[in-house]
Symmetry: C2
């Protein structure tokens, strides 16, 4: 994100979240979904880690499931995790799903973006985001997080027409939604294909990558508005993710960045990939691990954005997160 060639930019997935006392103070007042839907509060928690950790980017506080909700699904977000109490059962449920107009039905997100941009005043860029088509479709069919994804896979593997209709409709919704985020001031976008790794490469080539690519390629954006794609357990999918038209590929901590580079060439910059559990180690051990990622990332052409290999864990000590940012900014020792 930053332009200085000698300083790797850093931000953390879920950096606006539960590990921050300042976030918990806001959350104590309102339920999660209300927080997402109240622009002034969403903006407030979005900005917290920028001030506290001194990261090089803000990422909008929101949830990937607000899109299926805007499409017409009933969403419940409580302590048991997000749920759709009436999950999709098959083609007959498509009639209840529309492509929402983001300026109307997701206006609260766009307002939060405008508020954050105003507050940031150019200090660091703001990243908008959404979930990828496969991940959202899987959630909409399973109704909740799943271990085997057997419902989603049974519904989508077995009925190509339904799969294409559902994934196309979600993709259309995401294209409008991300475009509206860009037009409202988002300076970068990350698309989370959180459950990409539940699919084999052959299935991802049918149900994941094509729709993700369609969304990425639909966007009218300036050269300075990069798109990042990220999923976990995607070691075998990196080449497909790199071919979507995204500028940056997020890599989980399972795949060393130099191995990821070998798999995808220099089509995309790499983002990642410190094991989130590293933030629970001693300062000395954390430093070693940050330096290792920086070292591997240095060989990443056309570039490297430092991040965790997955979202920051809820019990992460804030001091460790701050230290990690400092260490990245300090950079590798001169040789």
């Amino acid at each position: 994100m930053k332009e200085e060639p000698d300083c790797t930019p850093v931000w953390f997935m879920r950096q606006a979240g539960r590990y921050l006392p300042e976030y918990r103070a806001v959350r104590a007042k309102v339920p999660f979904l209300t927080l997402c839907k109240t622009p002034v509060l969403a903006a407030e928690v979005t900005l917290q880690p920028v001030d506290i950790l001194r990261v090089d980017a803000a990422i909008l506080f929101s949830d990937i499931l607000v899109v299926p909700e805007a499409m017409g699904m009933h969403l419940v977000l409580d302590d048991a995790g997000p749920q759709f109490p009436q999950p999709l059962r098959g083609p007959e449920d498509l009639k209840d799903l529309h492509v929402p107009d983001p300026e109307q039905e997701l206006r609260y997100v766009l307002e939060a973006i405008r508020l954050v941009r105003k507050e940031l005043a150019g200090k660091v860029p703001l990243i908008g985001f959404c979930g990828a088509p496969w991940t959202l479709a899987a959630y909409m069919i399973e109704g909740r997080t799943s271990r085997g994804f057997e419902r989603a896979k049974a519904a989508l593997f077995g009925d190509e027409k339904f799969a294409d209709a559902l994934l196309s409709r979600i993709s259309a919704a995401l294209s409008l939604y991300l475009q509206a985020q860009l037009d409202s001031g988002a300076e970068a976008l990350q698309i989370f294909d959180s459950w990409a790794g539940a699919l084999s490469p052959a299935d991802y080539a049918r149900l994941g990558a094509p729709y993700l690519a369609r969304v990425v390629q639909s966007l009218r954006r300036a050269r300075k508005q990069p798109v990042i794609v990220f999923g976990v357990e995607t070691g075998e999918l990196l080449d497909q993710l790199a071919a979507t038209g995204a500028d940056v590929l997020g890599v989980d901590w399972r795949v060393p960045l130099d191995e990821a580079r070998r798999r995808v060439g220099s089509r995309v910059a790499l983002q990642g990939n410190l094991d989130p559990a590293s933030l629970f180690l001693t300062d000395a051990e954390l430093e070693k691990r940050v330096m290792r990622v920086l070292e591997e990332g240095r060989r990443a052409v056309p570039g490297h954005i430092f991040n965790l290999g997955h979202g920051i864990l809820p019990s992460t000590p804030v001091e460790s997160a701050k230290l990690a940012v400092e260490l990245v900014h300090r950079g590798l020792p001169a040789h």
Copy 2:
């Protein structure tokens, strides 16, 4: 397991389990841990899938956590999943862990093995099993299943001496336990490193592979007593797993078998790797997927054992599991 060159042997991980009405009938009478500890019942459920599905191997019904329990930890297995209510906190807790004598403290497992062998009368081989050192250590420190494994990683990454002491003690326990299983009649062994994929390759090289290799290489076994190693999300770890001295490498469904072959060469046979969700598809779609795995497995030198890429899911239709076995036995169509 079978010797016919034109028929790929097949069994399923967790084939003795909740998807079978016959298993649920037994489980309705006794708690899970009682079932593990009652040889006649453990033997009964071990044999069920051999008769019902006609698989080519039995795998002992048990749980990987009986070893930590025998080492001295209090184990609770209930509907909330397995738990150690007093997880390990650090080096000071090592004094409470001993290396159990399997003939005494895990005798119920050995008795179940002897019963199953007698009942099977050579019809199909019996596979014994255990969890791998890293997976058991992680469980013992976390106390339950985890998302980020931050406790286990903090404890083991940061304190090499503690990590080596704990993993060595677990390895010693596993060596004795597996040797006793072989000596009691187990004709093959599978070691489940279920949480291998939580570690980066560098961390697995320190905390996973060396201890797993120590266990495998400690065994005095006949050439006809193969050892299988398996973990999920192990795409980046396959070379390390293949170098442990195991004869067979289990591969999850994320890595196509021919890709796995490219990564590990011909040191090991491959086992896997049908996506468990495939058993929820139509017969025609299931057949396509079984054939694809057989096709990829045919190129696996020195051999291929058909299996799922992970445990069979609890809501799997029994008829689909039976069909999958039939399809494997029918084999690829002649060219």
